[in-house]
């Protein structure tokens, strides 16, 4: 389908949009939070998918991974404004208690159910490191600050956690 999009097929692009709009918007909103801004970023993501469709290479991963990588990247770019990051960290540290289980309350869908189950199989530190980075949009050094552990420990937990998540979900490129 992305192949047809790459050749300028607008109907194919519309079909792709119907399929990816919800994961793209949900991911962006998890990070950006503000709805009008999230909408703006999500639209930029969809246009980028159109523009870059010819660069998608199925041998290097799924279309969903390609699209959500673009979406997440744009979302974190939007929020990583240096001037407010200290304030963000302070607030997040104060309210971290309820921060770490983002998908627990995601809209009911099969993906969310499986992800939820697999996230529970991680250690607490792995899970917090992964979800703070992905849904919170924090850098691993900021996550280390939030969790009060060494940056090296956080980077290891992120990798171990994602590997465990990948294996639990049974996804492969």
């Amino acid at each position: 389908m992305l192949g047809r999009v790459a050749r300028g097929d607008q109907d194919a692009f519309e079909a792709v949009c119907r399929y990816i709009a919800a994961p793209v918007f949900g991911t962006v909103r998890a990070v950006v939070r503000d709805v009008p801004q999230s909408e703006e970023v999500a639209q930029e993501v969809l246009v980028e998918v159109w523009q870059h469709a010819s660069r998608f290479d199925a041998s290097r991963g799924s279309a969903l991974a390609w699209v959500t990588t673009i979406a997440h990247r744009r979302a974190v770019d939007r929020v990583r404004s240096e001037q407010r990051s200290a304030e963000r960290e302070r607030r997040a540290a104060a309210f971290r208690v309820a921060y770490n289980d983002v998908v627990e309350t995601a809209e009911a869908n099969l993906d969310a159910e499986r992800v939820r189950r697999c996230l529970r199989s991680l250690t607490i530190l792995q899970r917090e490191a992964v979800t703070l980075a992905y849904y919170g949009g924090y850098t691993y050094r900021q996550v280390a600050g939030l969790l009060g552990v060494a940056a090296g420990t956080v980077s290891t937990r992120m990798r171990d956690g994602l590997i465990r998540l990948r294996d639990c979900l049974g996804v492969q490129p």
Partner: protein
């Protein structure tokens, strides 16, 4: 702190989560260019993050797709990468968009917003199960809690949100984020002294015309209490915390152990 340098390979997870910036990112990308196994690993980890994205799927506001289609119709597509290019799509995209040095913060982030008390909603289901509530009660409770969580989110992300903290005289620290615009505050505390079952902590909005009860604090989790939402704030209010009989009282019966002007 900045001097810390983990082994490049251990940064694969952080990279896949877009959690590397600046020098960390550049360093890992240099490593990646020489490490085919790492590239393969990143691909696998990206499939895992894609499922995190799918799990957060949310119907976008009406019109998003239409606007994207209209914008696409005005946007020239890029040609495919030619053979012999050694860049992966990820790196190509990064280069194309200057991802390695992203444009920073056009709009300051109210962005960080924790999904905070959304966990409350999940807890409500469990609680309902424990209490043997009917499905309809549980659903109602869930809606209430989600509503609650939305207000908390609104306070925490409000442009006029201010944060301050205070010591609780019997032990512990309270943190408050307040938004005058939302007429509400979010309260959390760390290290509060545990109470016997017959007692609870109760929050108050204290004002000359009579103190308003603003909710009981829940049991702490991992040493943290809250977040608790107190709404209906008026100018000149003080936030008070007292220890009361379990179940709470309509008026404070003990001296405040925390009293903050708002």
């Amino acid at each position: 702190m900045r001097t810390h340098r983990p082994e490049p390979h251990t940064l694969a997870g952080a990279y896949a989560l877009d959690a590397l910036t600046g020098a960390d990112r550049a360093r890992f990308e240099r490593h990646l260019a020489r490490c085919p196994q790492c590239a393969q690993e990143i691909r696998g980890l990206r499939e895992a993050t894609a499922r995190l994205a799918a799990a957060a799927a949310e119907q976008p506001p009406a019109g998003l797709t239409e606007r994207a289609l209209a914008a696409a119709a005005r946007t020239r597509q890029l040609p495919p990468l030619t053979r012999g290019s050694r860049l992966s799509w990820r790196r190509a995209a990064a280069r194309r968009h200057g991802w390695a040095a992203p444009a920073r913060g056009r709009t300051p982030g109210r962005a960080w917003m924790p999904r905070l008390a959304l966990a409350l909603a999940g807890a409500a289901i469990i609680l309902a199960g424990i209490l043997g509530l009917t499905a309809r009660d549980a659903q109602h409770q869930l809606q209430q809690d989600q509503q609650h969580a939305r207000i908390i989110a609104a306070v925490l992300t409000a442009r006029d949100a201010t944060m301050f903290s205070g010591r609780v005289s019997t032990g512990g620290t309270a943190t408050i984020v307040m938004s005058a615009h939302e007429h509400a505050l979010v309260f959390a505390a760390a290290g509060l002294r545990p109470l016997p079952p017959s007692r609870c902590y109760e929050l108050w909005l204290m004002r000359p015309g009579g103190d308003q009860p603003a909710g009981m604090l829940p049991e702490p989790q991992h040493g943290m209490t809250g977040p608790v939402l107190a709404s209906g704030l008026k100018p000149g209010d003080h936030l008070g915390l007292t220890i009361e009989p379990t179940g709470g009282t309509p008026h404070p019966t003990t001296t405040a152990i925390l009293l903050l002007p708002l």
